[in-house]
C-alpha cells in the first residue's frame, strides 16, 4: 500500500503534468493569434482572419482546460502540502498572489472580449484584448517560474524558527536559476505551439483542404520553430551550466556520474542502477560531458557519491533528460527541413506532412520530460536546502488521497482523449468550411462572411 506521501507526490505530479500541457500551448499560441490579428489589421488580407478564426477556437478550448486544471493546482498546496506554506508561505504566497492579481484576472476578463466581443467593440480594442490575453498568459509564466526557480535556487530570505522570511524581494524573484528557466520554458512553449499548429495544418492539407490558411500557418509555424529550436539548444546549455553551479547533484544524475571523475563521457544510453551505483550497458562519447559542462576535456564533474542521501533518483532524471534532448534535436531537424520546403517550393511532400502530424504533440512530451528532469532532479528537497518533500506532506489518511487521486486520473484521462479527438475533429470541420475569397474585409475589421452558416458557433445550435 502506498503511503500518503507517495500518493500525494503522484497526485501532484499528475495534476501539474496535466495542467502544464495546456499553458504550454496557450502561452505561445496567443502570441501567434496576436500576430495573425495584427497582420490582418495591417494588410486587410482575409486569409489572416481565417487563420485567426480557426486557431482562436483551438485556443479557447485549450485555455479552458488550462484554467480549470489550474484551479485544481491552487488547492493542491493547501490540501496535500501544508508544510510547504507553513515553512515558505511568506515567500511563495506573494508570488502566487501576484500571479492571480496581475495575470489571471487580466487573461480571463479579456478572453471574453477576445472570443466573443469582436462585433461589440472597435477592431482596435479587440486587437488590444488579444494582446492583453497574451500578456496575461506570459505574466502568469513569469510569476510561477519565479516561484519554481526560487524553490530550486532560493535566495533573498532568512530562516527564523524554521520559517522562511523574505529579506530581499528582487533577489527572491530574480534568483540565480530564474532567467534561464523562464527563457527555457517560454521557448519550450513556442516550440510546442509551433509543432501543434504545424501538425494540425499538415493534417488539414493531408485530408484535402485546398485553402490558403493551413498552408500559411504551416509555413509560419515551421519558420518560428526553425528559429526557436537552435535558440533552445543554446539556452538549454546555459541553463545546464547554471544548474551545475547551483545544483550539482542534479547534473550528476542527468549525466549518470556515480563517482566524481575527470574527463567524464557523455552517455547516450545506459541503465543507471541505484543498488550497485553503476551504469549498465553504457554507451558514451568519451570526455564530452566534461567538455560541455566545464569547457575542458579533462574537467572534473562531481559524482553522486558526493551527495550521499541528498541526490535525486537517477534513472528518471537520466532518461527524461535524454527524451527531452532527443525530441529537441528531432524538432530542429524537422523544422529546418520543413521550412526549406515551404520557403523554396511553397509545399512539402506527403510523407513529410505525415511526419508532422505524428509530431503534433511532440512539444508536450519534450516539455514534460524537461519538467521531470528539473523537478525530480530537485529531490529529496522541496525547497533546496530548506524543506524536504517528506516534511511538507499532509497528515491525512492515505485513503483520502487515494480517492482524490483516482478521481483526478479518471477525469484527466477522459479529458485528454476528448481534447485530442476534438482538435482533430475541428480540423476536419474546418476543411468543409467555405471561404469567400471575394469578400473584402470591412473597415471595422469585421468580415462580411462571419455569419456564414458553416461557422462553428459557440452556444448556438449550429455547432
Amino acid at each position: 500500500m502506498l503511503d500518503a506521501l507517495m500518493l500525494s507526490r503522484i497526485q501532484f505530479a499528475a495534476n501539474i503534468s496535466f495542467h502544464i500541457l495546456f499553458p504550454t500551448i496557450t502561452i505561445a499560441m496567443c502570441w501567434f493569434l496576436v500576430f495573425f490579428k495584427v497582420r490582418h489589421d495591417m494588410t486587410g488580407n482575409p486569409v489572416w482572419m481565417r487563420a485567426y478564426r480557426f486557431w482562436v477556437k483551438v485556443f479557447a478550448l485549450s485555455f479552458a482546460i488550462g484554467v480549470v486544471s489550474g484551479i485544481t493546482m491552487s488547492f493542491q498546496f493547501g490540501t496535500n502540502w501544508p508544510g510547504y506554506m507553513e515553512t515558505v508561505g511568506n515567500i511563495a504566497g506573494p508570488l502566487l498572489g501576484y500571479e492571480v492579481l496581475t495575470a489571471f484576472f487580466l487573461e480571463a476578463t479579456f478572453l471574453g472580449i477576445m472570443l466573443f466581443g469582436i462585433k461589440r467593440v472597435p477592431n482596435k480594442v479587440h486587437t488590444l484584448a488579444t494582446v492583453l490575453v497574451a500578456v496575461g498568459t506570459s505574466l502568469s509564466a513569469f510569476w510561477i517560474l519565479a516561484l519554481d526557480s526560487w524553490m530550486q535556487t532560493p535566495t533573498g530570505f532568512e530562516m527564523r524558527d524554521g520559517v522562511a522570511f523574505p529579506t530581499d524581494w528582487v533577489a527572491i524573484v530574480f534568483n540565480p536559476s530564474f532567467p534561464y528557466r523562464l527563457t527555457h520554458m517560454l521557448i519550450a512553449s513556442g516550440l510546442t505551439a509551433s509543432f501543434f499548429i504545424a501538425g494540425i495544418s499538415a493534417y488539414r492539407i493531408l485530408k484535402g483542404d485546398v485553402k490558403k490558411a493551413p498552408r500559411l500557418t504551416l509555413k509560419i509555424s515551421l519558420l518560428v520553430a526553425a528559429v526557436l529550436a537552435p535558440t533552445q539548444a543554446l539556452v538549454g546549455d546555459f541553463h545546464g551550466l547554471n544548474t551545475l553551479e547551483h545544483q550539482p547533484a542534479k547534473i550528476a544524475a542527468i549525466e549518470g556520474i556515480w563517482h566524481t571523475e575527470k574527463g567524464a563521457p557523455l552517455l547516450l544510453f545506459a541503465l543507471p542502477d541505484e543498488e550497485t551505483k553503476t551504469n549498465k550497458y553504457a554507451i558514451g562519447i568519451p570526455k564530452l560531458a566534461s567538455l560541455i559542462l566545464t569547457h575542458e576535456l579533462d574537467g572534473e564533474l562531481k559524482g553522486l557519491n558526493e551527495f550521499e542521501n541528498e541526490h535525486p533518483p537517477v534513472a528518471p532524471v537520466f532518461w527524461s533528460f535524454r527524451v527531452m534532448v532527443g525530441l529537441g534535436l528531432l524538432m530542429l531537424a524537422l523544422s529546418w527541413f520543413g521550412s526549406y520546403h515551404m520557403v523554396r517550393k511553397g509545399k512539402m511532400p506527403n510523407w513529410m506532412l505525415k511526419v508532422l502530424v505524428a509530431t503534433t504533440f511532440s512539444g508536450w512530451v519534450a516539455t514534460l520530460a524537461g519538467w521531470y528532469v528539473t523537478e525530480i532532479g530537485r529531490q529529496p528537497w522541496l525547497v533546496t536546502g530548506v524543506l524536504r518533500t517528506e516534511d511538507a506532506v499532509t497528515t491525512l489518511p492515505a485513503s483520502n488521497v487515494a480517492f482524490s487521486l483516482a478521481l483526478y486520473l479518471i477525469v484527466y484521462t477522459f479529458l485528454l482523449i476528448a481534447y485530442i479527438h476534438t482538435v482533430f475533429l475541428m480540423a476536419r470541420k474546418a476543411i468543409k468550411e467555405e471561404e469567400f475569397e471575394t469578400n473584402e474585409p470591412q473597415p471595422d475589421g469585421n468580415l462580411t462572411n462571419i455569419n456564414n452558416p458553416q461557422d462553428t458557433a459557440e452556444g448556438s445550435a449550429k455547432a
Binding site: A64, I71, T79, G93, L106, G112, G117, T422, G459, S460
Partner: protein, 334 residues
C-alpha cells in the same frame, strides 16, 4: 505594532470581498448551469442560457482562486486546517468545476451528437460544484466538528446554496433574456427564491443554536437593535422580489434588472451576517485572524500590489460587463 494588528484585518476584509464577489458572479453562472432544461425541445434555450454567461464564467471563477489564494497567502495556518477538513468535498468541487468549464467549450466544438452529452456534463458539473460548496459552508459554520449533525447540516447547507445560486442564476436570466425563456426564468426565480428563503431561515436558526458565541453576539443588547436590521432587510428584499417577479415581464421590459440587484443585496446581507457572526475568527471557534496571519513583511508587499491591481481588475471587469450589456445573443466566434 500597527501592522501586525491591521494587516490581518485588511486581508480578512479582502478575502471576504473576494468570496462575496465569487458567490455573486460564479453563483449566477453556476445557477444558470443548474437550471439548464434538458428536454429535447429546449436546445435553443440552452444555447441562449449558456451564451448569456459565455464571456464571463472564466473571470468569475478567478475570484475563487483569489479567495483561496488570499487565505493561502495571508492565513496559511487557517488554510491548512480548513483544507484538511474539507479535503474530499474540495476534490469533488474541483471535479465539478472541471466538468463545467470544459463542457462549456466542448459542447460547441464536439460532434453534434455529443452536444447533449456535454450539456448534461455542464449541468451535472454545476450541481456538483454547488452542492460541494454548500456542504463546505455548512461544515465551516459548524466549526468542523465531527458527528452526524454536522454532516446533516452540511447537506442542508448544500441544498440552501443550490437554491441560492439557482435564484441568482434565474434573476440573471430574467435580466439577460427575453420572450419565452425570460418567462420561464421568472417562474424559476419565484420558486428558487422561496426555497432560498427557507434555507436562509434554517441556517439563521441553526447557526446561533450550535455556536453559543454567535448567539451572544447577535443578542447582545443594545447592539441587537442595530444588527437585527440585517435579517429584517433581507426578509423585505425576499418579499419585495417575490412580489415584483409576479408582475414581470413588464411592457418595454422595464425593471427586468431589479430582481438581480435584489438578489445581490440578499447575498450581501447574508454574507455580512455570516461575517458578523464569526469575525475575528478565521476558523470558527479555533483560530482568529491574528493567530493565522503570515509575516507582516509578506502581507505588506502583497497589499501594495492589491491596492493598485484590485481597482484595475474591478475597472476592466466593469468594462467587460458593459461590452456585453443588453440581452444575450448567440455567441459567435468571429
Amino acid at each position: 505594532m500597527m501592522d501586525a494588528y491591521w494587516l490581518p484585518v485588511i486581508f480578512i476584509g479582502l478575502m471576504g470581498l473576494s468570496v462575496l464577489i465569487y458567490a455573486i458572479l460564479d453563483g449566477y453562472d453556476l445557477g444558470v448551469g443548474i437550471l439548464l432544461p434538458m428536454g429535447e425541445a429546449d436546445e435553443a434555450q440552452r444555447d441562449t442560457m449558456i451564451a448569456s454567461i459565455g464571456p464571463f464564467w472564466d473571470a468569475n471563477e478567478t475570484w475563487l482562486v483569489l479567495a483561496v489564494g488570499i487565505m493561502l497567502i495571508a492565513f496559511p495556518a487557517a488554510h491548512s486546517i480548513v483544507l484538511y477538513h474539507l479535503y474530499i468535498p474540495v476534490a469533488i468541487m474541483l471535479i465539478g468545476l472541471i466538468m463545467r468549464g470544459v463542457a462549456f467549450d466542448f459542447r460547441a466544438k464536439a460532434a453534434v451528437d455529443h452536444k447533449l452529452a456535454w450539456d448534461r456534463t455542464f449541468k451535472a458539473g454545476s450541481i456538483l460544484t454547488t452542492l460541494a460548496q454548500g456542504y463546505m459552508l455548512g461544515l465551516y459554520v459548524m466549526g468542523f466538528e465531527g458527528g452526524v449533525t454536522t454532516h446533516l447540516f452540511g447537506l442542508l447547507s448544500g441544498l440552501g446554496v443550490t437554491a441560492a445560486y439557482s435564484y441568482i442564476g434565474a434573476a440573471w436570466l430574467v435580466m439577460k433574456t427575453e420572450h419565452q425563456l425570460q418567462q420561464r426564468a421568472v417562474t424559476w426565480a419565484k420558486l428558487t427564491g422561496r426555497f432560498c428563503l427557507v434555507g436562509v431561515i434554517a441556517v439563521s436558526i441553526v447557526n446561533p443554536l450550535v455556536n453559543p458565541g454567535v448567539f451572544d453576539r447577535w443578542f447582545d443588547f443594545p447592539l441587537v437593535m442595530f444588527v437585527l436590521l440585517i435579517p429584517a432587510l433581507c426578509f423585505t428584499a425576499f418579499l419585495f422580489n417575490d412580489f415584483l417577479l409576479g408582475r414581470l415581464p413588464k411592457s418595454d421590459d422595464r425593471h427586468c434588472w431589479v430582481p438581480f440587484c435584489l438578489v445581490m443585496l440578499i447575498f450581501l446581507l447574508c454574507f455580512s451576517a455570516l461575517g458578523f457572526s464569526f469575525f475575528p475568527d478565521v476558523v470558527p471557534g479555533q483560530m482568529d485572524v491574528w493567530e493565522a496571519a503570515s509575516a507582516p513583511e509578506s502581507l505588506s508587499v502583497i497589499l501594495i500590489g492589491a491596492l493598485i491591481v484590485v481597482p484595475v481588475i474591478l475597472a476592466y471587469t466593469a468594462f467587460s460587463y458593459w461590452v456585453f450589456r443588453g440581452k444575450a445573443t448567440s455567441l459567435n466566434y468571429h
